[in-house]
Amino acid sequence: MSIDIDTARRVAHLARIAVAEDDLPALAQQLSGILTFMEQLNEVDVTGVEPMTSVTPMRLKRRADVVTDGGYAAQILSNAPDAREGFFAVPKVVE
C-alpha cells in the first residue's frame, strides 16, 4: 500500500505537524517506503494469535483511589512558554 500526497497531507494534519506543500511528495515517498517494509508482516500466519498487550505476564498493581500528589501549581507552570495567573495560556480556542 502506498501513500499518496493527499494521504500524506492528512496524516501530517492528524499528527499536528505542519508540512509545506512542496515537501509532501518526498514525505509520501518516504512513508510509502517504510510501509512497504512493514508489509512483510503479511507473510506471517497469525491465525488464532492474540495481539500482545504486556510483554511480561504481570498484573498491574492497584492502590487506593486517593490523592497522593499535587499542590504545586507554580512548579507545574515553571516550564510553560506562556503561563499567566496560575494557568497555561494558549491562543483562543472557542470563538
Binding site: 501513500i3 494521504t7 500524506a8 496524516v11 501530517a12 494534519h13 492528524l14 499528527a15 499536528r16 505537524i17 505542519a18 508540512v19 514525505l27 518516504q30 512513508l31 517506503g33 517504510i34 510501509l35 517494509f37 512493514m38 508489509e39 512483510q40 508482516l41 503479511n42 507473510e43 506471517v44 497469525v46 494469535v49 492474540e50 495481539p51 500482545m52 498487550t53 504486556s54 510483554v55 511480561t56 504481570m58 498491574l60 498493581k61 492502590r63 504545586y72 512548579q75 507545574i76 515553571s78 516550564n79 510553560a80 512558554p81 506562556d82 497555561f88 494558549v90 491562543p91 483562543k92 480556542v93
Partner: protein, 493 residues
C-alpha cells in the same frame, strides 16, 4: 591526573575504600577530560558545580564507612533522563530550555547511592536513531578512528558510549528501545546491558515506546555493569510496569563458572551479506563459551525476520502517542504565531519546528498505523507477530537454553554522514540483532569481543532468560575474559 578517569567502577570503588583516592579527585579528573573532549560532542550539558558538591558529600560518606558501591562514582547521564534543575531535552529542539522540577527514579537511585553527575550526554533525538545524527546538539563522535573520517558512536545512546569509551566518565546511563544501549556499546568497544522489561523504573525518563523502553548501564567491564545495574534496578510504585521482585546482588553472581550451561546459536541470525569477520567472531565466541564448559546448541527462532518490521509499526505507534504531549503548551518550544493563528496552527507549527525529520517521520508513521481503517492491518498484526517472536524465545528457553549468543551489530561503526542519502529503512537494519530482545522483553548484553580488519571494535550479544540478568552477566564475563578485549581508542581529540 587523567589516569583516574580510566578506572573501572570496581577499581575506583576499591581505591576509594582503601583511601587511595577521593571522589573529588576522580570527579576533577573526569571534568578535565570532558573539557578537553569538545570534539567528541558527547557531553552536551556539563554540571561541574553539582558534580563537585556531590563528590565532597560522597567523600564524607566514604570516610564515615557507610558507602554503597556506586558512592563517589562520576557518571554521565543520557539526556533522556529528567534531572532536577538541569536541562533534559531528549536531544530535541522541542524541549529547548526544559529544566525538570523532578528527578527520574533511576538517577535519584544513583544519587542516593552516592554517585556523582558530571552532566548530560548526547543522543539521537527522542532516542530515535542508530547513529546519533538526529540530535539537536549535532553529532556525537566515536573516539575510535581509523582514517580521517569521523565515525558514529552508534545510537541512540551515542554520547553515553563515546563518553565511556573516551574515559570522560567512569560509566554512563543509557536507554534501549530497539538496541540503543547495545549497538553503541558494540561500536565503541564497551559493555552495555538492556535489562528485562520492568527491571528498571521508566519514571522520569522521556518516553519513546513505553512497551519497549528500558534503561541500563553502559560501562567498561561486565563487572561494572553488574555493579551499576544493581543500583539502578528495583520496584518503583511510580512505574506500574516495574516489577516488584527482589534485585539480587548481580556482582556476587559473577562466579566465572558456566559449566553445564546451554548456549543457543540461532540459525536465523546468520543473515545474507553478513561480513565474514562478524561471522568468524561469532563462531569464536561460541568456541570460547564451549571451552569454558558450556554446551553449544543450534536453535531456531523462526520469526526473527519479522522483528524489524513489527518493531517499526509498534515503536512509532507508541511514539506518536507519547510525543503528543509536545504541543507548545506546558514546556519547551512554542512557535511564533501569525496574526489570526489558532490553537491548531500553534500545535502544527510548534511540532514542525520542534521535531527533527526522523522524529516527524516516525510520529506520522505511528499516526498512520493507528488511524481508523489501518489499525488492524498494521498495528494489531504487528502485536500478533510480536507475540510469536516472544513465543520463539519461550520455546527455546523451555528446551533448556540458558542464553543465546548472536552478533551485536551487522557491521562495525560507520562514518558520520555516510548514511545521509540512504533510505530510512537502511538505517533501521542496524537494529536487526537487537530489536527482537526488546520485543520479547528479555535482557540482552553487548560485550566487546574483537577488532575488525580496520581496527574497529566488534561486539557479541548474549540474550538471557527474563529476570536472570545475574546469570547473563556471569556468562558475559566469561566471554569478556576469554575474548580479552583490551584495546582502547588512541586519543586524537
Amino acid at each position: 591526573m587523567s589516569e583516574l578517569s580510566k578506572l573501572t567502577l570496581a577499581e575506583a570503588r576499591d581505591a576509594l575504600r582503601k583511601g587511595e583516592t577521593t571522589s573529588l579527585a576522580l570527579t576533577e579528573a573526569c571534568l578535565s577530560e570532558i573539557e578537553g573532549a569538545a570534539r567528541l560532542n558527547a557531553f552536551v550539558h556539563v554540571t561541574p558545580e553539582l558534580a563537585l558538591d556531590q563528590a565532597r558529600a560522597a567523600d564524607a560518606r566514604i570516610a564515615a564507612g557507610d558507602a554503597p558501591a556506586m558512592c563517589g562514582m562520576p557518571l554521565g547521564i543520557k539526556d533522556l533522563f529528567c534531572t532536577r534543575g538541569v536541562p533534559s531535552q531528549a536531544a530535541s529542539h522541542i524541549l529547548n530550555g526544559f529544566r525538570p522540577e523532578y528527578e527520574s527514579t533511576v538517577t535519584q537511585k544513583l544519587w542516593d547511592a552516592g554517585a556523582v553527575m558530571l552532566g548530560k550526554l548526547n543522543m539521537d533525538e527522542f532516542a530515535m536513531g542508530s547513529s546519533n545524527e538526529t540530535s539537536t546538539y549535532g553529532n556525537a563522535v566515536n573516539p575510535w578512528k581509523v582514517d580521517d573520517r569521523d565515525l558514529t558512536p552508534g545510537g541512540s545512546s551515542g554520547g553515553s558510549a563515546a563518553a565511556v569509551a573516551a574515559d570522560l566518565c567512569l560509566a554512563a546511563t543509557g536507554t534501549d528501545t530497539g538496541g540503543s544501549i547495545r549497538q553503541p556499546a558494540a561500536f565503541t568497544g564497551i559493555v552495555g546491558i538492556k535489562p528485562t522489561y520492568g527491571r528498571v523504573s521508566r519514571w522520569g525518563i522521556v518516553a519513546f515506546a513505553s512497551s519497549l523502553d528500558q534503561a541500563g548501564p553502559m560501562t567498561r567491564t561486565v563487572r561494572d555493569a553488574a555493579i551499576m545495574l544493581g543500583a539502578m534496578a528495583g520496584h518503583d510504585p511510580k512505574d506500574s510496569t516495574s516489577a516488584d521482585i527482589p534485585v539480587p546482588d548481580f556482582e556476587a553472581m559473577l562466579t566465572g563458572d558456566i559449566r553445564g550451561k546451554t548456549i543457543g546459536i540461532p540459525r536465523e541470525y546468520r543473515m545474507d551479506g553478513m561480513p565474514a569477520e562478524i561471522e568468524a567472531l561469532w563462531t569464536r565466541g561460541a568456541e570460547m563459551l564451549r571451552d569454558a564448559g558450556a554446551k553449544i546448541v543450534d536453535i531456531s527462532l523462526p520469526h526473527t525476520k519479522y522483528a524489524l518490521p513489527a518493531y517499526y509499526v509498534i515503536a512509532p505507534a507508541e511514539a506518536s502517542s507519547n510525543l503528543a504531549r509536545y504541543d507548545g503548551v506546558r514546556y519547551g518550544h512554542r512557535a511564533r504565531l501569525a496574526e489570526g493563528d489558532g490553537i491548531v496552527q500553534m500545535y502544527e507549527k510548534t511540532r514542525a519546528e520542534g521535531f527533527g525529520k526522523e522524529v516527524q517521520r516516525r510520529v506520522m508513521i505511528g499516526t498512520y498505523v493507528l488511524s481508523a481503517g489501518f489499525y488492524d492491518a498494521y498495528y494489531n498484526r504487528a502485536r500478533k507477530v510480536r507475540a510469536l517472536i516472544k513465543r520463539d524465545f519461550d520455546e527455546v528457553f523451555a528446551q533448556g537454553v540458558d542464553a543465546i549468543l548472536t552478533p551485536a551489530t551487522p557491521s562495525a561503526a560507520f562514518g558520520l554522514g555516510e548514511m545521509q542519502d540512504a533510505d530510512p529503512v537502511e538505517m533501521y537494519l542496524n537494529d536487526v540483532f537487537t530489536v527482537t530482545v526488546n520485543l520479547a522483553g528479555l535482557p540482552g548484553i553487548a560485550v566487546p569481543a574483537g577488532l575488525d580488519a580496520q581496527g574497529l571494535p566488534l561486539g557479541l550479544q548474549l540474550i538471557g532468560r527474563p529476570w536472570e540478568e545475574g546469570d547473563l552477566l556471569n556468562t558475559a564475563q566469561v566471554l569478556e575474559d576469554a575474548a580479552g578485549f583490551v584495546s582502547r581508542p588512541a586519543k586524537w581529540w
